[in-house]
């Protein structure tokens, strides 16, 4: 899932400073799971901003709505009714959600309430860690299901480097050395021979090269 974290309230308040009627929009998917932009977080932020506006003596309204997914036009269309009276949308979706709302409502000022961080998952309650860098060319079959691109601080494909000590990374002792993890896993699976193959330099054309990426599945297209 996409993991995001809330922007500081002062920063958010600055983003909506010029607005009179704000609609805080939550998303029911990834950001609900990472507790950054779900229904509850939307209500908390809206309540805090309403108090802040009152303290500042500012008139205006701050309403809330949480939709199933901000990254799908059919759900974004549900905002229509409440959005009519708003002059600003504060999206608590990931960067994708913010853009889908902005694309759907060209006359509305849409601002982000979150900083979108990474593709990751829940490692324990309240803790989310990065697992995927969306490089577009997965090598997990070679590394025992542990991504060297994201989990190795240096993203090296033929590790470990000389900074691996006692299973930890030299960048930060709290980070496990991805290549130690890969070695241990492959050893456990009896597949250490996978490490004999030297990986060539990664082809980053599948990542940030060539502008925004697109995935088309012809058979899923209706028109």
């Amino acid at each position: 899932m996409i993991v995001a974290e809330p922007k500081p309230i002062a920063e958010v308040a600055g983003l909506i400073k010029a607005a009179k009627h704000v609609l805080v929009v939550g998303c029911g998917e990834c950001v609900t799971v990472c507790q950054a932009g779900g229904e509850k977080e939307v209500e908390i932020l809206a309540s805090a901003l309403r108090i802040l506006w009152k303290i500042e003596g500012k008139d205006g309204t701050i309403d809330t709505q949480t939709i199933v997914r901000q990254c799908e036009p059919e759900y974004v269309a549900e905002l229509g009714k409440k959005l009519k009276d708003a002059d600003c949308v504060l999206s608590l979706g990931c960067g994708v959600g913010v853009q889908f709302i902005a694309e759907a409502y060209l006359d509305k000022w849409v601002v982000p309430g979150l900083n979108t961080k990474f593709g990751g998952g829940t490692v324990k309650a309240g803790v989310w860690e990065e697992r995927c860098g969306f490089c577009g060319d997965c090598v997990l079959h070679l590394t025992g299901g542990i991504c060297p691109i994201i989990r190795c601080s240096k993203s090296i494909l033929n590790g470990p480097c000389g900074g691996s000590q006692d299973g930890h990374c030299e960048v930060n002792k709290e980070i496990s050395c991805a290549w130690q993890l890969i070695y241990d896993r492959l050893k456990g699976l009896g597949k250490l021979d996978l490490l004999d193959v030297i990986q060539p330099a990664k082809n980053w054309q599948t990542s940030r090269d060539g502008g925004p990426r697109k995935f088309v599945k012809e058979e899923a297209m209706i028109e």
């Binding site: 209500e43 805090a48 303290i55």
Partner: protein, 207 residues
Amino acid sequence: MGVKTVTDKQPDAAGKTVGASAPPGVPCSPTPGATGVANAVGATGTATGAAPDFTPKIVAFCCYYCAYSAADLAGSLRLQYPPTIRVIEVPCSGKVDPVILLRAFEEGADGVYVAGCMEGDCHFLKGNFRAKKRVQAVKKILDQIGLGGRRLEMFNLSAAMGTRFAEIATDMTRRIEELGPSPIRPEALAARKAAAGAKEQGEVKTR
């Protein structure tokens, strides 16, 4: 959701509260909703003997298994404490959500506290620890928005601590009296608007 109303614990003739101090008509539900909080905040208090123009409105979310029973005990013991407290019964302090705490402030509470069981004695094992973390998180939000985290507090007590319940009510009332009224009370907002208006008029005259 069943909502029960506290009607048997009311301020006495002397203006002091005997027993749990929820005023008549304050709904106490297992899951306090916005209406419950709004009613609690809107209820009228009695002067505490402090600043004559400021009687704090304090919302106390009290766990059924400890603080709420302690309030009953305080009543049985005929203990005196300020009638500034609006008690909302919750099934566990862990039921108290950050949204509800903020809503209480939004509706005009000067102070809010959550009273849960002693650490390690939660009827639901970890509810009071969760409440503690949530209260800390909301304190940070209150600091960020200028209301001040000191207006919110978490207390731990047992059902046998009637005296402690009265102490907490008194301490929290004193703290809020020191901090003054919430800046978003309607009176405070009206006063600020009037002051701003007067300043603007003064500036016009000077020109």
